[in-house]
């Protein structure tokens, strides 16, 4: 599922923000136009892709979010919206009108939460998120990005129970953004982070909530016991890959994924289908992985990597490392 950014503007400034580099390089005034939305809907349809994720910045800051949402639904798309849940009452009401009579499985929100103790929000923001969850909790999957090993997840279980959110937590791991100083989980901290996630296994089981791991987790950091538990509680859908996600900006630029937004950025108009875009960025990923196998030295001759069971962690770690070395690698890997 490719991601479409409606705007660069955001109401938050998360320390790990993976869009930081992209947002700082772009005009905050960029808003996806109607004409470009229609073009993207066409290219998705032509590519046989019926799922579209809407991102930002904060996508609900786009003044036409409700209209765009209805339009995509009328074009038979299944839509996911990544949001902070912070939005004006008017926007919330317009989205409510747009979703009137729309089945839950056609529109899902991924609401990203930060730990309240580490990222205190204003009262107005908290109230806004509560309003959002009261209206759309049944359509909302909570998401959480880990950027330090001492994270706490209890508040997410409380939110799920209080607002009737979907019983699933999307867990991402913050990766370095080459060229930016964001907070992220280093390869050395990965084992601690994974161990901490499994400290919450009893809570996941008790509340019948499924964890979902986003990309960038290396397979070798999981014990067989961890993998068995994941298999049992996620239906065996955990993957340990690192592949092009495909993000499309409001100005119609396209890149592999946010952490890699600085390299090989193209225009979507240069491609005929999404498959062409994926092929292009797969070649780029191949070039990076030819230089270094993965985030650990042992990745180079790892059997899991050879068998494509693991990609060797997020390529952003490798790119960040390349920027600090002498420029002796293939030119594609430099900013």
């Amino acid at each position: 599922m490719a991601n479409v950014l409606l705007t660069q503007r955001c109401v938050r400034s998360c320390p790990y923000c993976f869009a930081k580099k992209h947002i700082s390089d772009s005009s905050p005034d960029d808003l996806l136009s109607w004409e470009n939305l229609i073009y993207l809907a066409d290219i998705f349809e032509l590519s046989g892709e019926r799922n579209m994720s809407l991102l930002g910045g904060e996508p609900t800051l786009h003044p036409l979010i409700a209209e765009f949402l209805v339009y995509l639904l009328k074009r038979n798309f299944v839509v996911r919206i990544f949001t902070s849940g912070i939005m004006s009452e008017k926007t919330l009401e317009r989205i409510g009108i747009a979703l009137d009579d729309v089945p839950d499985d056609r529109v899902t929100f991924i609401c990203n939460f930060n730990e309240p103790q580490n990222s205190p929000s204003s009262l107005a923001e908290v109230e806004s998120v509560k309003r959002f969850l009261k209206s759309f909790g049944n359509r909302t999957v909570p998401g959480f990005n880990v950027y330090h090993p001492e994270f706490r997840l209890e508040f997410l279980f409380d939110l799920i129970n209080e607002f009737g959110l979907k019983r699933h937590i999307r867990l991402g791991v913050a990766n370095p953004i080459p060229g930016r100083n964001n907070s992220f989980v280093s390869p050395e901290e990965m084992a601690t982070v994974i161990s901490r996630i499994f400290d919450y296994a009893p809570l996941f089981e008790r509340f019948r909530i499924k964890p979902g791991l986003d990309c960038g987790f290396p397979l070798c950091m999981f014990s067989d016991e961890n993998l068995g538990w994941l298999y049992r509680h996620t239906g065996g859908v955990s993957r340990f890959g690192c592949a092009p996600v495909i993000d499309i900006g409001p100005d119609m630029s396209v890149w592999s994924c946010f952490p890699l937004s600085s390299i090989q950025r193209k225009s979507i108009f240069e491609f005929d289908t999404l498959q062409d875009v994926v092929r292009f960025y797969n070649r780029m990923m191949g070039a990076i992985r030819m230089e270094v196998g993965g985030i650990y030295e042992k990745c180079d001759d790892c059997a899991f990597r050879e068998e494509c069971a693991c990609s060797g962690g997020c390529a952003a770690h490798l790119l960040s490392r390349f920027q600090e070395e002498a420029r002796v690698r293939v030119p594609e890997v430099y900013l």
Binding site: W34, L46, R75, R94
Partner: protein
């Protein structure tokens, strides 16, 4: 009498004078639309289309459901509130409908594209305002080379389907305003060759029955030759490559040059590309 389609208001005393004729019925009352097909059938005539002109935006029309099965051309000023309109979209998509939108409103360049992408057929009404040729050029590119199936935007599709380099392309057909196919009647039965003549009170006869041999009527023949005017007057259009499509129709506009020339020249290239694509797909155009 000729086989012309007659365009007249919804006045039974006008179309009941005829039998076995084909009519376009003009109306500005949404409440009378549902009764038009039966009235035309009862008079032993055939309904080609109903042409309804309204001042209200598309989003504020509530009678779509009553118009099922009626060939309807609907001119409105704008879409209006998209969220409101979207609630009735599934009904609108099931109608035999073509929406006419005037370029007087700048937002309609986009509205035409939105409706087309939602499989609703549209027609551009050029009106009197200056045309944004560049935006129109984007729209024609979408209309003819859009990546996925979408509804036709007229007159672009009509031109693309019928254009041939060795003859003129008449776009009046999509507006029921082509004297070689349509005659216009007022509520007393007076006959005009175009809707413009009708509005200006220029008639060629007081009744169709006064025109037994239309093909030899001097006024009719003269009107069919008006395409020569811009050539005879030696206007800019006379030496423009795009003239084969526009026939000098836009020469009186303030901003017709150079945007107009660039637009129609590119349009011809797009049409040729469109026709060659259709040829390759084994669906040749009518030209």
């Amino acid at each position: 009498m000729s086989s012309h389609i007659l365009v007249c208001p919804f006045r039974k005393d006008v179309f009941t004078r005829f039998e076995e004729k084909t009519f376009v019925i003009r109306s500005d009352d949404p409440n009378e639309i549902a009764s038009i097909p039966q009235a035309v059938r009862d008079s032993n005539n055939t309904l080609h289309s109903v042409f309804l002109t309204l001042d209200t935006p598309l989003s504020r029309i509530s009678s779509f459901e009553e118009w099922k099965g009626i060939p309807l051309s609907l001119q409105v000023p704008e879409i209006g509130d998209f969220l409101e309109f979207a609630k009735r979209l599934h009904i609108v998509q099931g109608l035999n409908l073509r929406v006419f939108l005037p370029l007087e409103k700048e937002e309609n360049y986009l509205s035409l594209r939105i409706l087309s992408s939602l499989c609703i057929r549209t027609t551009i009404v050029f009106g009197g305002r200056d045309i944004d040729w560049e935006t129109l050029s984007d729209l024609v590119t979408y209309a003819l080379l859009g990546k996925v199936p979408h509804a036709g935007i007229e007159p672009f599709h009509h031109i693309a389907e019928t254009y041939a380099a060795d003859r003129r392309t008449e776009i009046g057909t999509v507006y029921f305003d082509d004297p070689s196919r349509y005659l216009h009647l007022d509520d007393r039965g007076n006959v005009s060759l175009t809707s413009g003549d009708l509005s200006a009170g220029r008639f060629i006869a007081e009744s169709i029955s006064d025109l037994p041999d239309l093909e030899n009527c001097p006024a009719y023949l003269e009107r069919l030759d008006t395409w020569k005017d811009s050539l005879l007057q030696g206007a800019d259009c006379a030496c423009c490559e795009g003239w084969r499509i526009c026939l000098g129709r836009f020469s009186s506009r303030r901003n017709h040059s150079p945007g107009c020339k660039r637009f129609f020249t590119e349009f011809i290239e797009l049409v040729e590309q469109y026709q060659s694509m259709r040829e390759k797909l084994g669906v040749p155009c009518r030209a």
